[in-house]
Amino acid sequence: MAEEKPNAADASKPTIEVAPSPHLSNTALTTRRMMLDVIIALVPVLIMAVWVFKWYAVLQVGLCVLACLAAEYLLACKLRGRPSSLGDLSAAVTGVILGLSLPWSAPWYVAVIASFAAIGLGKVVFGGVGMNIFNPAMVGRAFVMISFSVALGSGAYVMTGGMEVVSQATPLTAGKMEAAVVELWPLFVGNVNGSLGETSAIACLLGGIFLMVRRTASWEIPASLIATVVVLAGGAQLAGIFPNLTVAHHLLGGSLLFGAFFIATDPVSSPMTIKGKFIYGAGTGAAIMVIRLFSGYPEGVMFAVLLMNGLVPLINNWTVPVPFGGPVPERK
C-alpha cells in the first residue's frame, strides 16, 4: 500500500501511502482479546473445579488444552499448510471448555480423542476459525459421549471409596432417576458431583457477568435461554413431571448456567442479529428442557446446543434486519 515518492532517499520527507477509509481503527479490541476474556471468565469455574475435584480437574483440563493445541497445530497448520494460528487462543478456549464439560473420571484417551474430534471435526473441516457451524467443544464431547458411553454415562461420575462428593450421583440424575430430594445450597456453591465445570452455579454466574460486561458475550442469549428454562421448568413443576426438581433445581443444577454463559454464547456458532439471538436462546432453552424432562438423559445442554447450532443458518436467514428507513426500494 505504500507509494514511494521520487525523493524517498531524503529522510526528512515523509512517504505518504493511500488507503481506503476509515483511517482509524480500535486497536485494543482484537479476537485474541475476546478469547482471553473467555479464559479469564472461566477462572472462577476452574478454581471451583479444582476445589471440588482436586487433582482430577487439573489433569482433565490440562490434558484437553494440550491436546486441543496439538490438534490445532497438526490439523489446522501442518495438514493444511497454513501459518500457526495457535496465537489467537481459540483452540485453548475450546480445550478449557471441553475439559470442563467432561466428568472427572474420564480416561486420558477419552480427553485426547475428544480434543482431536473437537478441533478436527468441529472446526478444521469447516475451514478453521470463524467458519464452523457447530460449537467445537460440544462436537468433541458428543463424539466421545456416543463412542465411550460407559466412560461418560451417569455411572462414570460416581465412585465409592474416593472423595466424599463423588460418592453420590449427580444432582439431576438423582432427582430424575432416583427421585431423590436434592438440596439447593450445594448446587449454588458447587459442592456436588457433576462434570468439572457445571458444579458451581455462582462461579458460572460470576464468569458470565464478566463476559457480558466486556461485551464478549451477548446478554441476549443467556437471558432468553434462562427465561425459557424458567417458564418450561415452572410448567413442568405445575404439571407434576419430576416434582422434586423445581425451577431452582433446573437453573442451578446440571450445566445450564455453564452452557448458557460459555457454550451457547460462542459467537461463531450463534446468530449475529439481536432477534436471531433471542430465538436461538429460547430454542436452546426449550430443547434443554425437552431433553431433561422427556428423554433418557438427565442433562440436555450439549445436545440442545448442537441442535440449535444446526438451525443457526436458518435463523440468520429468517432474521435479516430491515434497514433504518425501510428496505432499499426497487429501481424503477
Binding site: 515523509p14 512517504t15 477509509s21 482509524l24 435479516v320
Partner: protein, 449 residues
Amino acid sequence: MSTTTSRRVKLTFPRGVHPPERKELAEARLIEVIASPKKVAVPLLQHLGAPCEAVVKTRDMVETGDLLGSSEAFVSAPVHSPIAGKVIKAGVCTLPNGRHVPTVPVKADGDQLEGDALWDAILGGDWPTEGLDSHTPEAIIQAVRDAGIVGMGGAAFPTHVKLTRNDAKPIDTLLINGCECEPYLTADDQLMRQAPGPIIAGAKLAARAAGAERVIVGIETNKPDALAAIRSAAAGTGVEVMEVKTKYPQGGEKQLILATLGRTVPTGGLPLDIGVVVSNVASAAAIAGAVLRGRPLTHRVLTVTGKGIAEPKNLLVPIGITYGEILDACGGLTPDAVRVVAGGPMMGFSIGNLETPITKGSSGILALTRDEVRQAPETNCVRCGRCVDACPLNLVPTKIALASRHGDWDLAKKYHAQACMECGCCALQCPASIPLVQLIRVGKAALSV
C-alpha cells in the same frame, strides 16, 4: 450555561460508535486567514450534479468573486474566482474521490483582499436578524444559486435545489447541522464560536426560502463554547438550539433528523420526503453572505490537524488552493506522517497527490502518523456481531462483506447492501480488522450497475 446542560435530555439515535475524538489538537485554534496564494485552480465540478463550463477564456482578467464557470442544468452550481488575476491555460485535476475534472486556473495579479479585511467581508461585521422576511423566497434562491452555494458539510449538493419549494413535498423544518461528528475536525466548531451571526441569519433566510416554520440548530455536547455562542446569537430570533449526544455519526443527516425530530428518512429517499431540509453551518453562513452581501462562495474554513502536521490550525482558505500549499502554511508534514486524508478519518479520502485543489466540500485535511492509523492484520470473522451492534442503519456489515468477497451479489442485495452509507462504524469496531467498508463498497458498486 454548563449547569443547565447536564440536566437536559440528551437527544440521540440508536447504535453508532464512539471513536477517539482527538479534537484537542486543533480545537482551541482561532481561524486564521491563509496568505493569498499566487495561483488557484478552480475545479469546474465540485458538486453533485452537472459540471460547469468555463465562461472565461485564457488571458481574461478577473476580479475576486467573478464568475468562472456555470451550467444551464438545474442541479448544478456556478464557480467563481477567489482572487483577482489572470486566467491561464485550462488544466485538469484529480479530486480526492478519484474523478478527473477540468479546472480554471487563475494567476494572482493586483491587489488581493487578505487577512482581516477578507474575514470581515465574508464572515465578520454585523449580521441582521430582523427584517429578513423582506427578501422573497425566489430572490433568496436566485442569490444562493448565483453564488454557487453547495453543501459544505462534504456532500456538496447544490443548495438552491434543496431550498426550492415543491408543493407535493412541503418543508416544515430546517435543520442546521453543527455536529461535526468526525474525529479531529474542529472547523465548524470554531466557525460557530467566531461567526454565529451569519449562521443564524443564513438559517433564517434558508427557512424563508424553503417555507420552513421551524429552524433548529443541532450541536453535539462536546462543543460547549459553540453551544453558548449560537444560543446567544439565536436568542430572540425564533431559532431553536438543540443539544445532541456526542456520538458518531450524529452529523449524518438521517441520524440528526432522528435525534432532533424523531422522524425517519426512507431508504433511498431524501429528508425532503418527510418535510425536512438539513444544511451545514458553513453553508448557512455562505447563504447569509450571498443574500445580504452579494458574495459568491469563494472561500471556506477547514481544519488541518493530526500528529503528522507541524502546526495544526483552523484556516480560512480560497477554493482552488492546493492541499500542498495549505500543508506548507501549517509548517509542513512531519517526517513520520504516513497518510494525508481529505475530510475526516472515518469517511475521508486518502490523497496521493498534494497538487489537488481544495473544493467547496473539503472540510478538513488530516496528516496522520503510523500510530494514528495503525491497522492490525486481517483475521477471520468470528461472527461476534459487533458490526451489527454498531451499524446506525441496522445492517449486517459482515454478511455484506462476505457476499462481496465472493461475488455473491444476490446475497449482498438480500442484506440491503445499497442502504449502506459507508460511515465506517463497523470497520472501527471489528476485532478481526476486516476492511468491511471497502468490501461493502465493492458490493454496492456491483449492485448499482
